[in-house]
Symmetry: C2
Subunit: 336 residues, 2 copies
């Protein structure tokens, strides 16, 4: 099959071996996949991954290998060949009791699709545990469905923090994750402001009626130590963003940390104590919530798509995704 | 009056001016006061304070200056001359609406007893807003009452985090704050372990039936990355303690930060996200809760007292408090 593979460098491989069927797993024919910042980091060698990257995808079930006898106690609803699905990325053995997506993400026996010891979705076919699959409603397009994984991560904020309609919430950062988090938070009816450095990206939110400000406008209006927000969601990916977020928060406010950072940033822990700030680390999220929001047309992901490449040009897709100002780059795997 | 004063250095002053009565304030004759780590830091010049330090105290009301007309809307219960009281340390103007101790601690117009622009309690007399005073029940001794302020800070943990009886809780650090926090957490019936470096200090908790472990025992039993605790309360005052606490926590656990640190420690924020850790900064607390616990004899503070000095030897009291392994040093102000 065709695949993008990461060895010493990233290449297109026209004859990569198709994944073998495995008990309790399904082979999914990939139709479309998205390039994520994590993929770029894999390419840069940060996690030492070798194989097929890609974990944001949608596809159609090609074949199903039943659970072995006695281990189907947590078998999900019957899937059928031909159904369109997305898949959660953390995979555990079918005899594991890890039913929750966060439990799976912490299971020491897990591997992770296209990130850690499991070939991913930049290929014609991918194999995933049946328990990881979710059906995609018919009114969600393939291109929209590719966003389920990052949109689920944005939905995770609402699993962890009670956002009240009276809360003043700031989403800091206007990259892909920031734009998804802002749209998810807007569903709550809270007093929301998305703050970023790029007017063209913030405009995607402005068109949906979300209040936006450039960082420079925020500083001009409130000063750099305004401390007015009840909740700040840090999506910049920069340690400087963490400090900016802290300074926006009122005493006893909540800082939701969606970004990860390279290295060990210096943090003003004393002010966390003095202001009794809560910090909530937030990672993967519920796919079902993301699918509901997309099916209800409450989230615009189409505006985040900046380019599409056929899988044969997957290496160029990676290059495009790294250009300044570029949001989502898709890989069209199914031949049209 | 007699006072310990901090100018270029700390001295005993036999004829310091008695505080003048101020509207809405009471003059309290101090009977006993405690030396706190913050006092040591003031002496080292960290906050630039000049005047009388001391904010852990108990005393007797000497005189009361009524509120000015029209500003008594939040007047507390009538106090009488001769009543024994403790006092919250953050003081706001009597016309302020800040009724809550945390609101007062954040009020920009506040000053702070013995710490910031208000003479403190290492003196014969101290002046405090009536709104800051709380009566001391008769069955609490003067020496016990001196611990109300730090004990209230320990009680604040229960205001911020829901500690369940099934939670595995670790208090890390066996200094004064750690010993108080461990005793407060023990009231919840949770699965508590106090972890520290000093067997003699941990023994104070062991005598009260609290499970204790040396850090070395913890590492031997669980390894340095055990990740078993639902809640870890960081009381070491050391950035290394923060990292130790994080490694003790299970994924999705809660790290309560009671310590403040000098400088800006480096923090592994990425692991906070990956493990979805919550960090809760925790500072001053409710005096009334601390008084109830002391009145019910549920907290042993007597074992924490390592030395007593008359106010004339207050400078020596400061020296003693800085010796390795020393817990609370008291200043006996009232002449017996």
């Amino acid at each position: 099959m065709r695949a993008i593979i990461l060895q010493d460098q990233l290449t297109f491989e026209p004859n990569y071996p198709k994944p073998a069927p495995s008990a309790g797993e399904a082979i999914v024919r990939v139709t479309c996949a998205g390039v994520c910042n994590t993929d770029i980091e894999l390419q840069r060698g940060y996690f030492g991954f070798r194989g097929v990257p890609g974990h944001e995808f949608v596809g159609v079930i090609e074949s199903i290998s039943p659970y072995p006898n006695g281990s189907a106690q947590f078998a999900p609803a019957d899937f059928k060949v031909g159904e369109r699905v997305v898949g959660e990325i953390n995979c555990v053995p079918c005899e594991s009791n890890s039913r929750d997506y966060f439990e799976r993400a912490q299971d020491p026996s897990r591997n992770t699709l296209g990130i850690d010891r499991r070939d991913g979705a930049f290929a014609d076919f991918v194999s995933l545990p049946i328990a990881n699959l979710l059906r995609v409603p018919a009114n969600i397009s393939d291109e929209e469905a590719v966003f389920v994984e990052p949109l689920a991560a944005a939905c995770q904020i609402l699993e962890q923090v009670h956002i009240k309609t009276t809360d003043r919430v700031v989403v800091l950062g206007d990259g892909k994750l920031g734009l998804l988090c802002a749209q998810v938070l807007a569903t709550t009816g809270c007093h929301l402001t998305a703050v970023g450095k790029h007017a063209n990206k913030l405009a995607i939110l402005g068109q949906r009626g979300i209040h936006t400000m450039l960082v420079s406008e925020w500083v001009a209006d409130y000063g750099s130590g305004a401390r007015v927000a009840d909740v700040v969601v840090e999506c910049t990916g920069s340690p400087a963003g963490f400090e900016t977020a802290r300074r926006m928060l009122r005493p006893r406010g909540t800082l939701v940390l969606k970004s990860t950072y390279h290295g060990l940033p210096q943090v003003n822990l004393t002010m966390i104590v003095v202001d009794e700030i809560s910090i909530v680390g937030s990672r993967c999220g519920p796919f079902d919530a993301a699918l509901r929001l997309l099916a209800a047309k409450r989230i615009d992901v189409q505006s985040l798509i900046h380019a599409r490449y056929p899988i044969e040009q997957g290496v160029q897709a990676f290059e495009h995704a790294q250009r300044a100002g570029v949001l989502k780059v898709l890989m069209q795997v199914e031949e049209k």
